[in-house]
C-alpha cells in the first residue's frame, strides 16, 4: 500500500489547495504567503476543513498543533504539510477560558498525542478524543495547566534560601 505524494509545480498546488478549501467551506480568512496557505476557520469546522485537506486534497502530514493562550481566548494552529514543499496553516480562535474543540484524531491519527499535550498544557478539551488523558503531568492531584499565562511560575532561583 503505497501512498501517493503530490506532484507538480508548487504554485499551482498552493492555488489548488486554496481553491479546494475555499470552495467547500466558509473560511473567515485565507491567503497564500510564500509556500504557506493560511486559513482561518471557525473552531467547529476544523475537522471538516482538515478532512477536506486530507481526503480530497491529499495533504497527508499533520506536523503539529500549537495552542496559544491569548488570555481570554485560545488560538490553535494546525500545521499541515503535503511532503513536497507546500504547507497549509489552519488557524482557529476559541473564546473562553475553558475551550472545547472538536477532535481531529479520526482524520489525522497522529493528532492523538498532540491533542493530549494541548489538553495537558492548556486545558483545551477535545470533543470526541478517544483517550484524553494528561501526557506529562500527574494524572490525579494536579489541577493546573502549566502553559496558561495565568499560572505564574517563579523565575527566582529554585530552592532559594533552602539549602
Amino acid at each position: 500500500m503505497a501512498v501517493t505524494l503530490p506532484e507538480g509545480n508548487l504554485e499551482t498546488r498552493l492555488e489548488r489547495y486554496l481553491e479546494g478549501l475555499r470552495n467547500r467551506h466558509g473560511l473567515e480568512e485565507s491567503g497564500i504567503e510564500g509556500n504557506v496557505v493560511r486559513v482561518l476557520v471557525d473552531s467547529e469546522s476544523v475537522p471538516a476543513v482538515l478532512a477536506t485537506a486530507r481526503e480530497s486534497l491529499g495533504i497527508l502530514h499533520l506536523s503539529f498543533i500549537t495552542v496559544v493562550d491569548k488570555e481570554g481566548s485560545f488560538e490553535l494552529t494546525y500545521e499541515l504539510m503535503d511532503f513536497r514543499g507546500a504547507r497549509v496553516r489552519v488557524k482557529t480562535v476559541v473564546e473562553g477560558t475553558e475551550a472545547v474543540v472538536p477532535t481531529v484524531t479520526s482524520i489525522y491519527p497522529t493528532a492523538n498525542w498532540h491533542e493530549r499535550e494541548a489538553y495537558d498544557m492548556f486545558g483545551v478539551a477535545f470533543r470526541g478524543h478517544p483517550d484524553l488523558r494528561r501526557t506529562y503531568m500527574w494524572q490525579d492531584h494536579f489541577d493546573h495547566h502549566p502553559l496558561l499565562k495565568s499560572l505564574e511560575i517563579s523565575t527566582k532561583r529554585t530552592f532559594e534560601g533552602l539549602r
Binding site: 499565562k149 505564574e152 517563579s154 523565575t155 527566582k156 532561583r157 532559594e160 534560601g161 533552602l162 539549602r163
Partner: protein, 177 residues
C-alpha cells in the same frame, strides 16, 4: 539457508580483530587530555578589572552570579564609581552557556580550563571572588515581571535591587572563605 552462520562468523572476526587492536581508554586521573582553547570550564573573575556593571548578573539565565555593589573611589580619581565588593559564582547552578562572558564589556569574567567541580556540600560550589563574601542562597535578581506587549524588557528599571538583597549578613561565612 546456504550461508547460515557466515554473518556471525564475520562479526566474530571483527571482534577478534579488536581484541588485539589498539585500546582507546584514557587513564583519566593520571592522564588529562589537553583541552582546546575554546573549552568552557568553570568561570572565574578578574576582580581588578571588574567595573561592577552588573551585566553578567542580569544576563545569566540561571541566576548563578551575585554581585554586591558599592560606590567607592577605587582608582584614586576622586570620583566614586560602582565597585564590586562581593562577587559570587555559584557553580552548582552554572550551565556554562557563556552568555556572561560574551556580555562583559571589560572581559573580566572568563572560562578557565578547570572542570572538576565536586564538593560534599552544594554551598562549597559557590566560589567567592570579592573582598566580602556574598550569600549565594539569596537571589539578587527580581522575578520577571509580566510584561505588556511591546514594552521595555524586564530587567530594566530594576537596577539597584541587585546590590541590596545580599547585604543581609551572610549566614555561612566559614564556607565562603
Amino acid at each position: 539457508m546456504p550461508q547460515v552462520g557466515q554473518g556471525i562468523l564475520k562479526g566474530m572476526g571483527v571482534t577478534l580483530k579488536h581484541l588485539f587492536g589498539q585500546k582507546i581508554t584514557r587513564q583519566y586521573p593520571e592522564y588529562k587530555r589537553p583541552l582546546p582553547e575554546r573549552s568552557r570550564g568553570m568561570l572565574t573573575v578578574d576582580m581588578d578589572r571588574c567595573i561592577a556593571c552588573l551585566q553578567c548578573m542580569r544576563v545569566c539565565p540561571d541566576h548563578c552570579i551575585s554581585i554586591e555593589q558599592e560606590k567607592r573611589d577605587a582608582d584614586g580619581s576622586g570620583k566614586a564609581k560602582p565597585y564590586a565588593v562581593g562577587f559570587v559564582i555559584d557553580d552548582s547552578r552554572c550551565m556554562y552557556c557563556s552568555l556572561c562572558v560574551e556580555v562583559c564589556p571589560v572581559n573580566c569574567i572568563y572560562h578557565t580550563e578547570e572542570f572538576e567541580a565536586q564538593a560534599y556540600n552544594r554551598l562549597e560550589l559557590a566560589r567567592q571572588f570579592g573582598e566580602r563574601p556574598v550569600d549565594p542562597t539569596i537571589d539578587p535578581k527580581p522575578a520577571v515581571k509580566k510584561k505588556k506587549p511591546a514594552k521595555t524588557a524586564p530587567g530594566k528599571g530594576t537596577k539597584g535591587e541587585g546590590g541590596e538583597a545580599p547585604k543581609k549578613a551572610p549566614k555561612k561565612k566559614e564556607e565562603a572563605a
